[in-house]
């Protein structure tokens, strides 16, 4: 299910020895930073993080002295991590590249669900939000199939449940966050103290 990264790890001048030995220097350090970020965010997103969010977190960590990692750099680093048999991989969901950092078997149904969730123009709600009904309708599936795929993704921690007004929807926090990064909403006003 994970896509071929399609990058030749030897075709880079970022540290001759780093490439030959596969260790040390830019990609090694980048790999460590990527693992760090994925571990920290895993409780929220179940091990599925968008390339955009990952890059933003990497740039926040990196100081001016070292060069900023590009998406291409991240792809190379992930290819190396994948080569170590670490459960890392890339997954294309529509226009968004996701970095998967858990060795979870996601099948085509799960990918299809995520693709629907990622469509910002999805009629059912906000970006990252789906319901059993909207999925079944979009994909032409029986509701039971949609429910099963969703429940698996919830169990893996990749989706959060939203119960309100008798209706249940499912949110893919990684997509929701990605969208918030692209178009930050107006700040809500600060909350005052409790009314005595």
């Amino acid at each position: 299910m994970c896509q071929q990264v399609g990058v030749d790890p030897l075709a880079s001048n970022k540290g001759f020895w780093a490439e030959v030995l596969g260790v040390g220097d830019f990609y090694y350090e980048l790999g460590v930073q990527i693992i760090d970020i994925c571990i920290q965010t895993r409780p929220s997103n179940g091990g599925l993080i968008s390339m955009g969010e990952l890059l933003q977190q990497l740039h926040a960590k990196q100081n001016a002295a070292r060069q900023e990692a590009s998406e291409d750099d991240v792809r190379r680093a992930v290819a190396k991590l994948k080569g170590l048999g670490s459960g890392f991989g890339l997954m294309q969901v529509g226009k968004t590249t996701m970095v998967l950092s858990v060795p979870v078997e996601l099948d085509n149904d799960h990918a299809a669900v995520m693709e629907v969730a990622n469509r910002t123009s999805s009629g059912s709600g906000a970006p990252g939000e789906v319901t059993v009904e909207s999925l079944a309708s979009e994909l032409g599936w029986p509701e039971e199939r949609a429910r099963r795929a969703l429940e698996r993704l919830v169990a893996e921690g990749m989706a959060w449940v939203d119960s309100h007004g008798g209706r249940t929807s499912y949110w893919f926090m990684s997509f929701w966050l990605e969208e918030r990064l692209r178009t930050p909403p107006a700040q809500p006003p600060p909350l005052g103290p409790p009314v005595p």
Partner: protein, 188 residues
């Protein structure tokens, strides 16, 4: 408030254990941040404006609120004003039963130990050693503004003083009310 507070699923108590743990950790951050910003040390639980976000039309259920409170109590950042603060299941069960009843919750965005350390340091740096001060003076006296204790709830100051007494750094003089009680700070 932080980003997560604008996210609808944040207001549904998550069924999956790992996700719930993360959610409660985030809720604790939201509550303590808000308490610090508004200088809130205690509140009627149901009057807290955090439990509902009208902008996204979501409200945390009573069960959710109880889980957040239990998490804060377990971390040492909150306690009920009256009644059992027990540990584990007993406190959580009591909390669920009491959420709707207007009980007051104390929020310690600074722990008692933090306040005690700040208090004795302040006393030693400000030449307060040897004299007796009332709790009222500490939070509302002429010299209170600008100190970390300005407008601090008396129950918290009292707890800090009791801790300092246990550590041999101060003596508490009992009084009819918290505000009337006094403290004498000792030098190092």
């Amino acid at each position: 408030p932080p980003e997560c507070w604008s996210s609808p699923p944040f207001f549904t108590l998550q069924p999956v254990a790992v996700t719930r743990e993360k959610q409660l950790t985030l809720w604790a951050d939201v509550v303590l941040d808000w308490a610090k910003t508004t200088n809130t040390w205690s509140m009627a639980l149901h009057k807290c404006p955090l439990w509902a976000n009208p902008t996204i039309s979501r409200r945390l259920s009573d069960e959710g609120v109880a889980a957040v409170v239990a998490h804060l109590i377990a971390k040492g950042n909150a306690e009920w004003e009256t009644g059992d603060n027990g540990s584990g299941g007993a406190a959580a069960a009591a909390a669920v039963g009491e959420v709707g009843a207007g009980r007051r919750l104390r929020i310690m965005w600074k722990t008692v130990a933090n306040v005690a350390n700040e208090l004795i340091a302040h006393a030693r740096e400000s030449g307060m050693i040897g004299s007796v001060y009332t709790v009222f003076e500490l939070h509302s006296g002429d010299d209170a503004p600008g100190t970390p204790f300005h407008q601090m709830d008396p129950w918290l100051l009292r707890r800090a003083i009791v801790l300092l007494e246990e550590q041999g750094k101060a003596a508490l003089f009992e009084g009819a009310t918290s505000d009337a009680e006094g403290v004498k700070f000792f030098s190092a």
